[in-house]
Amino acid sequence: MVDPGNQRQRTRPAWLNQYELVGKIGEGTYGLVYLARSKLPHHRGVRIAIKKFKQSKEGDGVSPTAIREIMLLRECVHENIVKLVDVHINYGDMSLYLAFDYAEHDLYEIIRHHREKLSSPINQYTVKSLLWQILNGLNYLHSNWIIHRDLKPSNILVMGEGEEQGVVKIGDFGLARVHQAPLKPLCDNGVVVTIWYRAPELLLGAKHYTSAVDMWAVGCIFAELLTLKPLFQGIEDKNGPNPFQADQLEKIFKTLGHPTPDRWPTLLNLPFWQANRNFIQGKKYENPGLYSIVQQPAKSPAFDLLSKMLEYDPAKRISAAQALDHHYFRTEPLPGRNALVPGSPGEKAVGYPNRPVDYSTDFDGSTAPPQSNSNLAPLQQQQMQRNEHMMQVPQMHQQLHMQGMQRIPQNSNMGNYGVGNQQGRRKEPDSGNQNYSGYQLPNKSRRM
């Protein structure tokens, strides 16, 4: 009898032996994200997030997204930018694996934890430290002529327990671009930035845009850190290739008031401003209510900075470098490197839950044994392999578990429940959460 284990071994790339798979932590259109532990002597036990990119569907080799992420992150070295540790190839299915330093948290989960579990705001020190570090990373990118183009809470990673605890890492560079000397106009890439965080110039169809689009997104994230709710929750119009996002604009106008050519002179040149004159220019929202939404005094430094980030005219919008210099960051509490320590000495640290892991998935993304015959041997073998991984799990939880609850995402892809339950993990219902991980891959609304 052919030993299927051996056969399997041979088609598996040798580099897989560098890692011990823990499980799947994210999924998207171009692939999967895994959590693994390094087995290399000098990094033994270090946790790594491995993002697998499938071949692009159109028969055009490595996806442009993977190429962008690799080319930019190979060059970027900054404390607040996620670190690309290694790139691997699986020649078996012609896929690429990008290995990153693992970050236990992201702003999506941190905000959700406060909103749904704690029902209390994030402390001021944490908000300020997170924001400062986001801006610090962004300033590095912008001064290197890179626009991220897809900033949103789930792409802002925060390191868990360890030397870098509470340090922000900007992640997911799949849409980032160098704009120093574009060979084609930037708008050729199709619509970018998840709609809630999309800058008004993009919503109005601007052909040329700048790093200011990232600053708008940071403004939205800042407000969300303060209120625990997305600032402009528009309903996305998914008709056609680049539809006019009427609802999103209306949400913005309601809060910030109407933009006027006075304050934003180039407004008149924007395609959708002209084409949708009746809709956009018909209604008037006179009373901007931003400060009441974010519940900040209109004269506070926080509100001043926020309103400068949410400036309509991209030319007047505050830059990352200017924002870092804002007096908000020079007033108490001063921002710090570990954003997750308590705001004041007497306060208790918030224990954020660990990233949910699907333990049933193998490195190739399959949840079932690859052989189609009903031979039991490979199945048993796989189960044994998985149990090996599982052995690591309780240990990991002791280490990292501060007080939060372990969760398993409500995810239809979760197979093999038996294995998970054997480990005595509690399952916590978790409604309507599709966006469950900072390592989640881009959704379908993005076009390349």
């Binding site: 041979r10 088609t11 598996r12 790339p13 040798a14 580099w15 159109e58 028969g59 055009d60 080799g61 490595v62 442009p64 190429i67 690799i70 080319m71 930019l72 190979r74 060059e75 070295v77 790139v87 190839i89 699986n90 020649y91 078996g92 012609m94 690429l96 001064s143 290197n144 002529w145 890179i146 671009r177 160098v178 120093q180 000397a181 574009p182 060979l183 084609k184 106009p185 050729d188 890439n189």
Partner: protein, 383 residues
């Protein structure tokens, strides 16, 4: 990325001359050993990432038919690489790609063959993959199908080596082209002479055009692996200016060094530029006949079974020549006979730009509509 000094290009891909020599020798040596051991030099990457050499049976079959094929010398490899680097320029010109794409593709090709011998990976295929990846990286996306169509190649040939090339480049894909530095200097010079009248501005523009031509030549030498793009561009300007001396470059360079607070002195810069010109002059001259001979040798050591077929074909060819209808005037080659399909033997068709432009007519009309937007020029002084 704007900062060359922190780039992977600066740190990993500008070599000492001795390192370059050693690397090229080492890969040539490895291919020679493969030839002794397996009877052929070609290498294929397998599903698990390991390398596959030809099977024993094939080797033995080849051995029965003839002597072990001859390997290429280091110098012959240089010739072959330079020939295909020239091809990259031709292909990119025919596709009307901006010269940044061409420069990136040539550098990919050079970097890839720092660690591999042309006997191991077919330069004809690698060259196409380098162009393809360069287009992706520079956000000037051309599908493998379009590229394949334009050069009458199966897109699979382009795609097959993509991961192998990415790996060979160590996934370091941002390349700083001397053309961009040149644009920066020209822009700066134009500003400087703005007050001196239209003739002065025109002189700078002419100098720039001439310097682009010099950079084109330098791209086909070791220079891009040995010097940073800023120095290469300046050396090209200096060389282009030597004959007519239309621009006071020395004064410009002095001012530039002062203004930018560069760590280099004028004499250091001068000696770097001298070294660039020496490397440029030392570069081998590629002539068609020599390359054709080496290319035949290359094919046979990659695939010894061809040895037989070549002989057969030669015999056939001789017979054919006797037939009267072969005296008919030559026609344009059919797609299957294109120069790239068969390498250099039929490459006569490739040398006249008109002919090969004709072949790409369809492609051209498609690309004409793609305009390069006016890029914001930023002075890039990259020492």
């Amino acid at each position: 990325m704007a900062d060359f000094s922190t780039s992977s290009h600066c740190h990993h891909w500008i070599l000492q001359r001795q390192t370059l020599v050693d690397k090229l020798r080492a890969s040539n040596q490895r291919a020679q050993e493969a030839l002794k051991k397996y009877g052929a030099t070609r290498v294929e990457v397998q599903a698990d990432g390991s390398l596959a050499y030809p099977e024993n049976a094939e080797v033995e079959a080849a051995a029965r038919k003839g002597p072990t094929p001859e390997h290429l010398t280091v110098q012959e490899e240089v010739m072959i690489r330079k020939f295909y680097e020239g091809k990259i320029q031709q292909v990119c010109t025919a596709f009307l790609f901006p010269n940044k794409i061409q420069a990136t593709a040539i550098l990919y090709f050079k970097r890839f063959y720092l660690n591999w011998s042309v006997m191991e990976h077919d330069p004809k295929h690698i060259m196409l993959t380098c162009i393809y990846i360069s287009c992706k990286v520079e956000e000037f996306h051309v599908s493998a199908e379009e590229l394949g169509k334009g050069i009458q190649q199966d897109p699979q040939v382009v795609l097959k080596n993509e991961l192998t090339v990415l790996q060979g480049l160590e996934f370091e894909l941002i390349v700083y082209a001397p053309y961009r530095s040149l644009d920066g200097y020209a822009f700066d010079l134009e500003n400087a002479v703005q007050g001196m009248g239209a003739v002065a501005v025109k002189n700078v523009q002419e100098l720039r055009e001439q310097a682009v031509f010099e950079v084109d030549i330098m791209m086909l030498t070791d220079v891009p692996l040995l010097f940073p793009p800023g120095q290469i561009a300046m050396a090209a300007l200096r060389k282009a200016n030597r004959e007519n001396r239309k621009v006071d470059l020395e004064r410009y360079m002095q001012g530039l060094l002062g203004r930018t607070g560069a760590k280099h002195t004028m004499s250091e810069l001068e000696s770097a530029m001298d070294a660039i010109e020496i490397a440029m002059n030392e570069s081998v001259h590629v002539e068609e006949e020599g390359v054709r001979r080496i290319d035949r040798k290359l094919k046979i050591c990659r695939n010894p079974q061809l040895q037989d077929e070549t002989k057969k074909r030669e015999r056939k060819g001789k017979q054919k020549q006797k037939k009267p209808q072969d005296a008919a005037p030559p026609t344009y080659p059919k797609p299957a006979d294109s120069a790239i399909n068969h390498g250099i033997e039929e490459s006569d068709n490739f040398t006249t730009p008109q002919v090969h432009m004709l072949r790409w007519e369809g492609m051209l009309s498609l690309l004409m509509s793609v305009k390069e937007i006016g890029a914001k020029t930023v002075l890039a002084i990259q020492y």
